[in-house]
Amino acid sequence: MTKRMWMALISLLGLFLGAYLTLYKFGFIGTLACGVSSCEQVQTSRWSVFMGLPVATWGLGFYALMLALAIVGMQERYSDSSPLSLAMLVLTACGAVFTAWLNYLEAFVIHAWCEWCLFSAGMVLVLLVLAILDFRDTRTTIEA
């Protein structure tokens, strides 16, 4: 599997995670499956909404965009596209910064952890690493 395939796969999983948490936030899912942490405390805190939209919905949008970019990037025509690679790098970098801020809030402000949020944070981190490697590959191709 190529890096972009992995990115597409991870983004798809993230998309469903975002959809799950968004459905919960809008009251379509009664309670969150949450084994060892305080998902509901985090998901219902005032920090769970950003610019009028649930944070989960922002996540949903992020993963949907990443999925679309990764699938486009898998096409022969765009396989060495530097702008596409740069777009994925910028997007994942923004996602990582936003995720870091959310984790900071969980640790030092809300004093509660949501395992789904941590799972998402892990996926964003892997996406960022893959995007960096992909960008490096693209530049190597151009130089070659």
């Binding site: 799950y20 009664g30 005032r46 898998m74």
Partner: protein, 266 residues
Amino acid sequence: MATKRVESGRGRKAGTVKSAKQPVNRAFYLIIVVIAVIGIAALAYLSTRPKASRTVAFDSSLPTVQSQGYVMGSPSAPLEVTEFGDFECPQCGRFATLTEPDVRTRLVNTDSIRWRYIDFPLEMHQNTWNASIAAACADEQGRFWEMHDAIFAAQDQWNTEATSNPNKVLKRIGEPLVADKAKFDQCIDDQRTKPKVQAHYQLAIARKLPGTPSFIIGDQQISEFLTYDDFKKIVDQQLAKIKANPATATPNADSAKAAPLKKAGE
């Protein structure tokens, strides 16, 4: 075409045959589609499954709820609903601000149900005892429900995340509500109503409630956030049972304590 050589880069070694990727891509798209179908099915199941999974059968051996908490509604209402709530619990706040206004207007004000609130301050919330004590202090001046609503509405201003001195904020919240501000402040400082809150807490513990908010609606006990529609559905079921067998109506243990209500339009 299958013999076309490609340049190095993008993780490929020079000489890799490009068209060899096609079967891999097809297999990958198949995996994506399978995961998408499973994911959509899972989400559809989760969002459509019955949400009463945390409903437990009524255990008649547990202590009955009598003459405790704060009561709102008509003494002659056939059904009494008891909420065990925690002022700092986000789901209780959500219920108080989103669902409860409709419950009061459509069910309590129409004499369909009587409403009882009992404190269940959970250990995980550091400031919730202060809130329960402050609400009980407002009750001394007949302003419990006003304070109850104000505390939930301003939950993010006095909760553990917001302050380490909740009493200061709670006094400010109560200031426009109570007639005797000095008495109210003194009550909070002295924790005069703490025994009452403790009694409420003990009652919740004795009932082995799993968390907040917990509702006792006739012979049902539900421990989760309820939308108005969910709540109304359970109330309607219980009212139907009472209609079929009037002896099952909830007795009013303390009608004298029931707060007078303003009817809609008054």
